[in-house]
Symmetry: C2
DNA sequence: TTGCGAACATTACAATAGGTAGTGTGAGGT
DNA sequence: ACCTCACACTACCTATTGTAATGTTCGCAA
């Protein structure tokens, strides 16, 4: 399995995951390899939550391929299959390609409209890359 | 209601809609204001489909705000609330903004990587817009 | 005037995704 | 021999989407 949808009405990890899934991924990305009860312990600080609930969701994340599970004696230890950086890199690349494929020039315009108002540094970066590209040809 | 998710594993209208929803929107975007039975007639050319099924889905599309329903005597006529162009414009803009918000510079790089392999004309367009932007300042 | 048929409304069921949690099982330590 | 803890299995709930049966209404024709 993989990530199939990007939610426009959410933010951060909630764009890729359900709310509990997102919290769990957040914990695993900001800490070491962990057992279920470790994750649960961190979640409980916010909100009471059943051990089995955490287990079920974590196992589903394993099925989706975003967590890896490893037996260490009697307990299972979990860790993300990708670093957060890799994950964001992968997802943003896939999304960007999808967008360009689907919308082509429209996206370029929107991009610039957005950059115009937002971030002069990004425009600089863009121009640098374009110049670099041109020289290569 | 609105569109809340963009599916990375689909293509075209299926990125925004379920498969039947997408077919229905396709028909309404490529024809005049229509009654349910007109839509059904076109769908049936491909695949037998129950009138009520079409009705239910079309009414849901009205609830979502992507179709408008208008009573004309005994029948209801349906038509998209936006043209396909407007819809794609809106969606691609929203997605582009979301992406930049969420990933910032990562997206700019992916964009250029993609453009590099894909389309020299888009790069030209990009550069034009950047020059235009610079002059404004 | 009555009643049929067409269009719409209401209701419901299946599948999938995600959140929640009860019950079952097995292995280790006491 | 047994108890506990971690894990497995199963199930139920909500939402979304596809599917369709049943119920209602109203104009027109006999």
């Amino acid at each position: 399995m993989k990530i199939h949808s990007f939610k426009t009405n959410e933010s951060g990890l909630n764009r890729f995951f359900g709310p509990l899934e997102a919290k769990i991924m957040h914990i695993l990305w900001n800490g070491p390899e962990m057992a279920i009860k470790d994750v649960q312990a961190r979640l409980v600080k916010e909100q009471a939550i059943n051990f089995n609930t955490v287990m079920t969701v974590m196992n589903r994340l394993v099925d989706k391929g975003v967590l890896r599970k490893r037996a260490e004696g009697r307990v299972s230890l979990f860790q993300p299959t990708q670093s957060l950086e890799q994950f964001l890199e992968t997802q943003s690349k896939e999304l960007t390609n999808d967008l360009l494929e689907e919308f082509g020039p429209l996206v370029v315009n929107h991009m610039l409209d957005a950059l115009e108002e937002a971030d002069p540094a990004l425009i600089e970066q863009l121009e640098q890359k374009i110049q670099a590209l041109k020289k290569e040809r």
